[in-house]
């Protein structure tokens, strides 16, 4: 008895308890809904059978029906473009800013803190502001482009099928910059300063120091930031709701917004669940990369 108690207080039992607590939490609040979601994608879900658990099993019918729809592939392609372009934009600008702030010019830490403002703002507010900026007739962006002579006529960012996805990407890059910048700043500050000093003594110029010290030392931070970025970008919903509603003509529709539209606009919950399942696969891939890169961090 005494042995068991002491094991719970400071032995193996304590470790198990520590692991069991978050694991139970994860299983009940994330695991079960996930499984339920997969189950729903294999069932015929009716509006009025929402409350029941055992519904007619239809196998992969929802999947085959989904891929027979003509909008499916374009929307999946939009999703890929949205994620790739957002990540590249967020990362490059975020990394550039992090490097700039790491030079510690006067007021650098101040300014870096201010950048977090964009991260603190609710997505719908960001979306509403961007939808004004991007508005066709009276938008600030069109005004700036026109005054600087870059365009002659107005670009209808939200309503022109050629620009609508780009419009949301621009807003999403802006939203993600500070997140990338802060995480990468943390990574940069973890690189020992004496490495740079030694390299400088050996005559390495700034460019060489960046390629041979900064980048290799940042590998795990970069992996983590990109993996988290992919997950957050796949979750991005508010901007679509606020700026284009996925339109016009689905030209800016992406999987996550479509899943919501199907479930809560057309009440086709099974199809909504089916898209979510497809997305889970991609999120898992990103999560795998994230776990790999942070594991590397601990070892190193």
């Amino acid at each position: 008895m005494k042995g068991r108690w002491s094991s719970i207080v400071d032995g193996k039992g304590f470790d198990i308890a520590l692991v069991a607590l978050p694991l139970t939490f994860l299983l009940t609040l994330s695991g079960l809904p996930l499984i339920y979601n997969v189950l729903m994608s294999l069932q015929q879900v009716d509006l009025f059978s929402l409350g029941t658990f055992w519904r007619p099993f239809v196998g992969f019918k929802n999947y085959s029906e989904l891929f027979a729809q003509q909008e499916t592939w374009p929307i999946l392609a939009n999703t890929a473009i949205f994620v790739a372009a957002s990540i590249v934009g967020q990362f490059l600008i975020g990394f550039g800013l992090a490097l700039m702030f790491s030079t510690n010019f006067p007021g650098a830490s101040w300014l870096r803190g201010l950048f977090l403002v964009s991260w603190v703002m609710p997505g719908l507010v960001v979306g509403a502001i961007w939808s004004w900026i991007l508005s066709g007739d009276f938008g600030v962006l069109n005004f700036l482009l026109r005054e600087s002579g870059l365009i002659n006529g107005n670009i209808f960012w939200r309503s022109d099928p050629n620009y609508s996805l780009l419009a949301v990407i621009i807003a999403n890059i802006w939203l993600g910059i500070s997140f990338n910048m802060i995480l990468l700043s943390v990574g940069l500050s973890a690189i020992p300063a004496d490495l740079y000093e030694a390299a400088e003594l050996d005559g390495a110029n700034a460019w060489q120091r960046f390629w041979t010290i900064t980048l290799p030392m940042m590998r795990s931070s970069i992996g983590a930031v990109i993996a988290l970025g992919i997950i957050l970008t796949l979750q991005q919903f508010d901007l679509f709701a606020a700026i284009t509603s996925g339109g016009p003509n689905d030209s800016s529709n992406v999987a996550q917004y479509w899943a919501w539209e199907l479930s809560f606009r057309q009440y086709d919950f099974a199809k909504g669940a089916t898209i979510s399942v497809i997305m889970i696969v991609f999120v898992m891939l990103a999560a795998f990369v994230y776990v790999r890169s942070t594991r590397h961090e601990i070892r190193g």
């Binding site: 509006l47 009025f48 059978s49 929402l50 409350g51 029941t52 508005s135 066709g136 007739d137 009276f138 209808f156 939200r158 309503s159 022109d160 099928p161 609508s164 284009t244 509603s245 996925g246 339109g247 016009p248 003509n249 689905d250 030209s251 809560f264 606009r265 057309q266 009440y267 086709d268």
Partner: protein, 409 residues
């Protein structure tokens, strides 16, 4: 008075109060009411009713618009539905067709307060399913044409003769559009949401089409007219993504000379518009063609799972008995032809209301059909495909007709 006396006295008072209350509470039946209302009538009506002390107590819950249907579905399928709900009219049939709403036909036949013949035909039709009545319209609205009389004068158009046909409308829009002054001829909404269907369907219906038969020549002409408005720059390209409220905002600020929207705009327009304006009936395809308009707002319904159908019906009767306050107190149009909404003292608003009341006579419900959201989506897709130039109006509407046929079975 010392403390002990004081305590005894208050105990006595408390006791007698409780003594009176207990029997009354035992008799009280609680009726739960769900609605999406903001500053609209339900919460006030509930408070008024609870003051009457009829032995029925109403518990009110405000549900956000986006959650109303899914919350109601979830509650109903788990046996926790409220007694009464106010449901958006195109979704009424979804519940009625599945037996989720109580058939009120016989109760209404006996009622001295609810008279179906007093209602406008459109709102009333939205409460019906297979010839039986499953609810009562709560309020109603429709769309008509707002126009800026000052701009009409400035461009040499007669401000007392607003466009009556589609050709006149396009013609007026061409004359009124003035890119140099940032003025579009007309503002409306072709958004890929229920709002787009709400705005387009009346055009199709005026030309003889219906949702069951959406790819007629008339509907194609309607969509082509919309396309002309956008392609010639008579309406902003943002019409494709802008809500009715935001579109009419550009009318109020003087950036559009005409706007198609509903009476919910009136108060804002009176406050914001710094010009003389008027409202006209929706233009028709050609002189003498059938009129039509869309119809919005909510219906009251009783869930069939209620334990107190009679009490719930009494509550509905109370709501209906207050319909004459609908406009004066809450700014909504009652769905009834027998109520004179009176004068507001605002001449522009009064004139506008008369047009909206006239337009309401031609208002048609969307559906009623239990799969309305899917039908509506097919129509929205067609509007967007045609207006973005991805398909011709004919192809887009053929596609919509195919999808709708699959839904109708």
């Amino acid at each position: 008075m010392n403390i002990r006396k004081c305590a005894m006295l208050s105990a006595l008072v408390m006791g007698s109060v409780l003594g009176f209350c207990v029997p009354a509470m035992a008799e009280d039946v609680t009726i739960s009411v769900w609605s999406h209302d903001n500053d609209r009538p339900a919460s006030s009506l509930v408070a008024d009713y609870n003051k009457l002390d009829t032995g029925i107590k109403i518990e009110y819950r405000e549900v956000p618009f986006d959650d109303l249907v899914s919350e109601a579905l979830r509650a109903y399928s788990t046996g926790q539905a409220p007694d009464i709900i106010a449901i958006d009219n195109p979704e009424h049939a979804l519940f009625a067709s599945r037996g989720a709403f109580l058939d009120l036909t016989d109760m209404i036949a006996k009622s001295t307060i609810i008279e179906p013949k007093n209602y406008f035909p459109g709102p009333l039709a939205s409460t019906m399913w297979e010839g039986r009545q499953y609810g009562v319209p709560k309020a109603t609205n429709t769309i008509a044409l707002y126009y800026n009389k000052d701009m009409f004068k400035a461009k040499g158009l007669d401000p007392d003769k607003p466009p009556r046909t589609w050709a006149e409308l396009v013609d007026a829009a061409r004359k009124l559009t003035d890119p140099a002054a940032n003025v579009y001829g007309i503002a409306f909404s072709a958004k890929a949401s229920e709002e787009g269907t709400f705005q387009f369907l009346p055009w199709a219906q005026m030309a003889g089409a219906s949702y069951e038969n959406i790819n007629t020549d008339g509907a194609v002409k309607a969509l082509d007219t919309w396309k002309t408005l956008l392609d010639e720059g008579l309406a902003s390209r943002d019409t494709l993504t802008r809500s009715q409220w935001d579109s009419t905002g550009t009318f109020n600020s003087g950036n559009a000379a005409m706007a198609i929207s509903g009476p919910w705009e009136l108060d804002r327009m009176v406050a914001e518009a710094k010009f003389d304006w008027g409202v006209a009936l929706l233009p028709v395809p050609e002189e003498g063609a059938e009129r039509s308009s869309s119809m919005g707002d909510y219906n009251w319904a009783i869930f069939s799972s209620t334990a107190h159908p009679e009490e719930a019906f009494k509550v509905l009767e109370f709501f209906v008995s207050q319909d004459d306050r609908m406009f004066s107190d809450f700014g909504l149009l009652p769905a009834r032809a027998d109520i004179d909404i009176g004068e507001t003292g605002q001449p522009l608003k009064d004139a506008a209301l008369h047009v909206f009341l006239e337009q309401l006579k031609y208002a048609k419900p969307r559906g009623p059909h239990p799969e309305w959201p899917k039908i509506s989506k097919a129509i929205q897709d067609a509007i967007q495909a045609a207006l973005t130039g991805r398909m011709s109006s004919r192809e887009a509407l053929d596609e919509a007709a195919k999808k709708i046929k699959a839904v109708l079975g």
